[in-house]
């Protein structure tokens, strides 16, 4: 449970999947909101593909929580993550809500417990906090998230929550949430499978003073920064991953083209297995860029692996394969840079490698 003592402006960004979990449908109806009181989250069951009964269950989760903390049902949001296609065990859920309400607490330990409670196959919690001074007063942002696979983007099997005491209108919060998601949760990928449950929720309880437009801009940057921290943490914890791969694409006609190319490279199982195997098989990277649906000629593309130039304006460069392989072997963070000569469009994208453990986790367990 995440509960705001004060009614809070709230906004959300949700999965773009056509198949949408019941709690996402519910939250979409209720957001943006000027006076949300919180969110009840269940982990282990997605409450997706569960028909009318699933929707009724999500509504009931909100109503039971609202009754327990003393607010209207419409002020309460709901998130779920886990296996798809099974009905929620409502007696257990309702009992759990009662117990969670009884231990609500504003300590750092409570944040830690909440960050743990939402995990599924994650191996550790993802938390990011920031303080910014705006219009003379300090504003705090606290974010936490879960996610380790079915990472989309657009968005991911991920839930993320950003809580702040800033005073921001719900409509502004909605705009900042979309912007933050675009360069964080929508710029990561584990295997390219968009989930039915992805949710980012922002709550701003307005304890501070209203923000002028300059302060709002700076506040937006802080939101993006917290979301980017959480997004990177999700990819770094990707199921079975041994590498965090940072893909910088620049020189396209616009940012969207750069993102399409970055995503094609990020999602290629051939690129991901090569990185796992420390094999500097750069042809897989260039050929993935080539099927992203973005027009370019080979002469307009150059490629670096870390600092090592491999391909320049359409021509392969001589390089020392053992050096390139050692770079892949000895670093957990790998940088790929694709430079085009077509314009100012750019994107930074994060992905993971594809390993035996990814296959094991997804073949041997129902997640």
């Amino acid at each position: 449970l995440v509960i705001s003592d004060l009614p809070a402006a709230a906004a959300g960004v949700f999965t773009q999947n056509r198949v949408v979990a019941a709690p996402v449908r519910l939250d979409r109806e209720r957001l943006p909101s000027p006076d949300a009181r919180g969110v009840v989250i269940c982990s282990g069951n997605a409450n997706a593909c569960t028909g009318q009964r699933g929707l009724d269950d999500a509504r009931r989760m909100a109503a039971v929580t609202a009754a327990a903390i003393g607010c209207r049902a419409e002020q309460m949001l709901v998130c779920s993550t886990g296996v798809i296609g099974r009905h929620l065990p409502m007696p257990r859920i309702e009992e759990g809500i009662g117990r969670a309400v009884s231990v609500l607490d504003s300590s750092a330990a409570a944040l830690d417990r909440a960050a743990h409670a939402i995990l599924t196959t994650d191996t550790h919690i993802k938390v990011s906090t920031q303080k910014v001074t705006l219009t003379g007063s300090e504003v705090r942002l606290t974010g936490f998230a879960k996610g380790a696979a079915m990472i989309g983007p657009n968005m991911a099997t991920m839930l993320a929550f950003v809580l702040t005491d800033a005073c921001v209108a719900a409509a502004d919060l909605a705009m900042l949430a979309r912007r933050a998601a675009e360069s964080s949760f929508n710029a990561i990928s584990v295997e390219g499978h968009t989930s039915t449950n992805d949710t980012l929720l922002l709550f701003a309880n307005g304890a501070g003073r209203p923000l002028d437009s300059t302060a709002l801009e700076r506040f937006g940057s802080a939101v993006t920064s917290v979301c980017t921290d959480l997004a990177r943490a999700i990819v770094a914890d990707a199921e079975g991953a041994t590498h965090l791969v940072i893909i910088d694409v620049e020189g396209l006609r616009n940012d969207d083209e750069a993102k399409r190319i970055a995503r094609a490279v990020a999602d290629s199982p051939l690129v991901k297995t090569a990185i796992f195997g420390a094999d500097p098989n750069w042809g897989r990277i260039v050929s993935a860029a080539g099927y992203a649906g973005v027009a370019f000629a080979e002469e307009e593309l150059s490629l670096w692996l870390g600092d090592l130039p491999l391909y320049q304006a359409g021509t392969p460069l001589p390089f020392d394969p053992p050096t390139a392989s050692a770079y892949l072997k000895n670093n957990r963070e790998i940088h790929l840079r694709l430079r085009f000569t077509l314009g100012p469009g750019r994107c930074t994208f994060w992905t993971s490698d594809l390993t035996y453990d990814y296959v094991r986790l997804n073949a041997e367990y129902t997640t």
Copy 2:
């Protein structure tokens, strides 16, 4: 080497990657052709991302072969498959061409040798032959292909060759080739990575009588049938695969929508690992359909695994997980059926599962 004693009508279908191997560039210039004499194929090196020198090398392969068999260089086509970004070892290639010319032969054993010679990580050859009686005379079609990964579609790291004694104009052959590729090589996927080298070549040497329009239609069906055989054989031999997955999608507004949904399901690593692990985790299939970019409501979708209904008009059906798991465990060919209620559009798509061996082959070897 594939050589036609008579000048043959020839047509091709090629990769849609923006990064295109040198031999593909060359063949695109030369096709369709009314009087091609054959194709020289090298396996192990893709001659892709090799700049001007790569193009010169491809031209030289054609010229050396043409000189050896006694035709114009423009009558000879070229294919390559293998690792990207390395220059061809031209002295070895030229010596090999000379040796291949000296053992040209029209026996079944020669076809078998050619089908073996083009393989890379394939574990066995792919050959399909058909005889059809058209306009009173028998027409023969012989197809062979290679491919086991970087299988796109559009198309695949695959080379396929269909040889026939039918008498067909080059323009008609080009039309039939495109049509055949659409429902065969462009309806398969191993990991969704489109290669730089994909090529389907058709040669019709015209030994038979010209075909009227009815006969041409039947001949086209035979071409499609040979191509479908070869495409299925490629997926069945996918790197590390333990299952051939046949995805039937029906009831969309048009065939293209059905194919987009089939492809999203086929390319999802979460679907592929679940099938490998015999885990009837059908939520992964439904959620993959949901991010294919095709508009539908959950109530418009039902799903079967083999004969077992799992999801009906947006609602999960009770089913026996051990029975579903046994179906996955005990069958090498797995059928998924997604039925929508939106129109007559349909597609059959073939893919493979994602296994430890796929990761091993692509992490530990430079392919």
